[in-house]
Assembly symmetry: C2
Homo-oligomer: 311 residues x 2
């Protein structure tokens, strides 16, 4: 059995046009840039990608386009979790058919206070609906946004029923104790835990985390890669502190518009400021504040480079 | 200008098969039954209908089927609010093209703590994207489930920008003071306020509410209709108290499975127990408890009738 995709994975930003459509060329150029600048792989359509602001058709189309321009599907995990079971099945099946490394799936998040039994039934229906043993499913635990979440008991039940299919989790609880718990309980089942918060990446790697999947990776992949590759080296600790400071500076602003504003600056391209409603772009004055705080935190601004060409 | 649809509107339950597909025949039979038993109209795909558990394709198809079997589109308001702007535009445009009375639209509900400016931009993009002056848009305020909600300032701004298009709101805050505030502030703009909680229907009608849109309507439409038609009559008060007690009894159980269990009983049809995951059907023991509490509360069980035929 080959090892599943691990390391530093960026939930890649999705560029949008001035009229809020997906800007495919800019987005794919960013995919390429991330893969050439510190990322082991990408999550296409994570929260940072504004995934749930796009339709099934828009999402399928971008993924197909990515693969058609030569981006290696084996380096892509695809966000496929919707409120609707039918949509989640369609997107997950599509990700498998395209040859992707896996699907990262939210719990259905419209109804709140649903039971573990109901969520279990949902994932059974999803996996049986996809009906493809190539499926590698990653659970997407992000209680601050989805509100609905995975209990440890539910994770355990899913791993037990689908070993080799339910292969990991992205833990965006932001709670180190929870990430630690996941690694300690489930790490022995070849179950990959990816913290969604890179500020405790080093501690997580020491316990056996598979890497990280974090929005910040869009702008600090190389620092995270350095920690990932050299986590036994004292320099990793210094780098981890820097990453923590940068995160604190960034999170004073709405994260997705802030990350896009940074890419806009480093690509010298105003398109990158756009977000799809209900998100709003960072105001120029906010960006100036963010830029000053990032620089003060020791942020190494990526070299200004134009959007990479795509075939 | 003709008056928009008002009165007692049921967010109609959606029947599902044993393998969780929409059971179109059963659902349409229920639509017909509701319209013949106390409802002035229906909301197709509200929260009680498990709307967000179904895909755009499934939703379009059921609506088309409803109209094709002779259900009057002018009696239907369609739930069209998704996380994705593209999906919301598609469903809203479709509802208008089918000739429906309106669209009831959630705010995009994946990202939390979004700004009023972002939500405003979303609705501008939605309305401009539909680009049809026949559109009648109802705002769907349901903070306990959507978490994202409409501030009074946002409602005001939308009415001011789109008079005659943004024509009403369903207020499922469950907060009488909020419903009252909406009626008092916006009633004068030909803006229809529908409480989502029928336990204060009478008080709302006294202030000028347009009726109500509430899940309970699936099983107590005739009582609500009696209150609606005779709200000046002392009997309405008695009926309102009964409705309140029935609601209290029902809400000790998960509302949607409980409503479906009641319909299952009155249609003598087990299919009606089914819900789509992540919801779970009521256990038999729960149903027995619910039935006893409903009867104690004075609930008038609908006559047992088979599912109505549809052409």
């Amino acid at each position: 059995m080959t090892r599943n995709l691990c390391g530093i994975l960026a939930p890649a930003l999705t560029a949008v046009t001035d009229d809020f459509r997906i800007h495919e060329e800019r987005t794919l150029a960013h995919f390429r840039w991330l893969l050439e600048n510190g990322c082991d792989g990408l999550v296409v359509f994570g929260t940072t990608s504004e995934a749930n602001s796009f339709s099934v058709i828009e999402r399928r189309r971008l993924l197909e386009r990515a693969v058609s321009v030569g981006i290696n599907a084996k380096k892509l995990i695809v966000g496929t979790g919707c409120c609707s079971l039918a949509d989640s099945i369609e997107l997950t099946k599509h990700a498998v058919q395209v040859g992707c490394a896996g699907a990262l799936t939210l719990p259905p998040f419209y109804y709140k206070e649903v039971s573990d039994d109901g969520l279990f039934q949902y994932f059974v229906s999803l996996i049986e609906g996809v009906a493809d043993e190539r499926l590698r499913l990653y659970l997407y635990h992000i209680p601050p946004i989805a509100i609905v979440s995975f209990s440890l008991a539910l994770v355990e039940k899913l791993i037990a029923k689908y070993p080799g299919i339910v292969v990991g989790i992205k833990d965006s609880s932001g709670d180190w104790a929870h990430t630690k718990d996941l690694i300690e309980r489930f790490g022995r089942f070849a179950f990959d835990v990816f913290p969604g918060n890179e500020s405790y990446l080093l501690a997580a790697l020491e316990l056996g985390a598979a890497g990280c999947i974090s929005g910040m990776t869009n702008v600090i992949a190389e620092s995270l890669q350095m920690i990932f590759k050299n986590w036994r080296h004292p320099e990793a600790k210094v780098r981890q502190e820097l990453v923590k400071r940068v995160r604190q500076a960034l999170l004073k602003y709405p994260a997705i518009p802030a990350l896009k504003a940074i890419i806009s600056k480093t690509r010298d391209d105003t398109v990158w400021k756009n977000v799809r409603p209900p998100l709003m772009p960072l105001a120029e004055s906010e960006f100036l504040g963010l830029a000053a705080e990032l620089t003060a935190a020791g942020f190494e601004w990526p070299k200004t480079t134009p959007n990479l060409p795509i075939p």
